[in-house]
Symmetry: C2
Amino acid sequence: MMKKKSSYNVAVVGATGAVGQKMIQLLEERDFPVQQLKLLASSRSKGTVLQFKGAEVIVEEATPESFEGIDIALFSAGGKTSKQLAPHAVKSGAVVIDNSNGFRMDSNVPLVVPEVNIEDIQQHQGIIANPNCSTIQMVTALKPLYDRYGIERIIVSTYQAVSGAGYQAIQELKKQTEEVLKGEEVTKKILPVSSLPIKKQIAFNAIPQIDIFEENGFTLEEMKMVRETKKIFHDPQIQVTATCVRIPVVYGHSESVYVELKQDYNLAEVLNLLKEAPGIVVVDDPANQEYPLAIDAAGKLDVYVGRIRKDLNHPRALNMWIVSDNLLKGAAWNAVQIAEELIKNAQ
Amino acid sequence: MMKKKSSYNVAVVGATGAVGQKMIQLLEERDFPVQQLKLLASSRSKGTVLQFKGAEVIVEEATPESFEGIDIALFSAGGKTSKQLAPHAVKSGAVVIDNSNGFRMDSNVPLVVPEVNIEDIQQHQGIIANPNCSTIQMVTALKPLYDRYGIERIIVSTYQAVSGAGYQAIQELKKQTEEVLKGEEVTKKILPVSSLPIKKQIAFNAIPQIDIFEENGFTLEEMKMVRETKKIFHDPQIQVTATCVRIPVVYGHSESVYVELKQDYNLAEVLNLLKEAPGIVVVDDPANQEYPLAIDAAGKLDVYVGRIRKDLNHPRALNMWIVSDNLLKGAAWNAVQIAEELIKNAQ
């Protein structure tokens, strides 16, 4: 349990990154009770000057000593940095909300989506993990169906934005797009996986690889959706099959989701459950060509759901199209939501 | 049965369209035995001069009288034109190979993908239908699995190129992309469905609507995949669920396909069956980041298959990524393949 204060010292690790920037923006927009904001990054970004509530904040290099006096540390600087520094932050007395893959599957680290399993934050031992972007929006949309009918299996194909791979991937998409339009040779440096040797063109293309491949032929991104969904719902029985694909979109992941429920359902009831659920906006009016779109979800906090229809074959199955801003609900907003819950429960 | 000749009079209806152009190009590249090539289009394109084997051919307006002396008429000018003119072409003695949706589900019109059901062309009564692009590449890739194991159900999500909506859609994607890069307002005129009032931005977006919506909440494009797959395999029991999505790609449809077989299978055997099957190229080497990509399939005749992996949950299911050029195997090449078979069987 966090100690109640009128305001809190907050650190953002990875402050200059695509997600870190959104975290800072949200702390300001949500008027989070910040006493002191400490912006941390790698030595490369040390000295960068950022704005927070009209004041300038100079980015410092993140070190094991950076967390003295910090109450809440929002990490989004990759798994390696989290593994290295989060334990120091915890030792210094901070609660870490980690957006990396570093601790998500640790049994003593809660993996939290507030709309789904907020109660799990009470079990934290210093670190709370933020799930993967593609998992967050899917489980948020499925939660009301899970509670009402139970879920037997999920088959999902994703249409993921390049911003999920960071600023450099956004720049790469724009540069490659200009090169293609000019008929120039395409420069490939970042995608699909910056740490891997082989690069692929994302401009005017679809790349069926996000993150490295595992032995079973699935990518790590696909297995994150499988493992994280089971953990978040506390239900190892949920069957998940994922195909994760990067497409030439800047902000907003879209997902084609087939879900088999444990009971028969009524489509009108499903629509009502989704409409009444927190964090979900139903955009579903075929007659008026209304359905969620990545460009509409960009910059918004909610998860948008549409194309909701009964499966043609399986009586307990339905299909839906789930869209959300991968940097917001898929990352920064989910983390700040957790921070807001933490201080709400502080005593 | 077609009468054997040393060369044939061929008409292309919709000669100035994206598919018509590819048909003409393929007749030349394949050295199809053309006696006379008649290029037909709407009055709008009348007089356009096109090249065929170094000679100039002037496009004429397609009328009921256009087909006198024509042996083979390749139609790709939309369902309305086909409905209107194909019967006249047949009356004039031509065999019509129709790329539109006009006759595909007619019980007396064979719906043919040469790699799957070429034998059906013998039942033709003047018209042979070319299936929808997204169906063709899927059934071509699934044929060897269908023959060996049987197929119970298919759950497919597509990543479709704008060229499937014609030249104007290609121009729209390029124009919108330039507008977005320049920060200008985006011009929306064609997509998602030119005949519908509401338009959506395709640049840096994913649109989950291709063609009009049906009562059941599925789009016509999605239902084409359902109905055509059953007809091509002569198997009304195959369960198909489709979600069809347009993405900012110019040429080449990609498909994320989950397939449940009727029998247990061996993954190595599946790979061999696919490698040995006609019209299929397996590109599947995760260790070297090799998988099919739309930009690689563009301009090629084959269907590319990769990301082939055992489903994590269902013992009889597997997942695959199927990519092909929607204007070639998905349209023009499939039609010319049928024409080649017709003259091969001529007597």
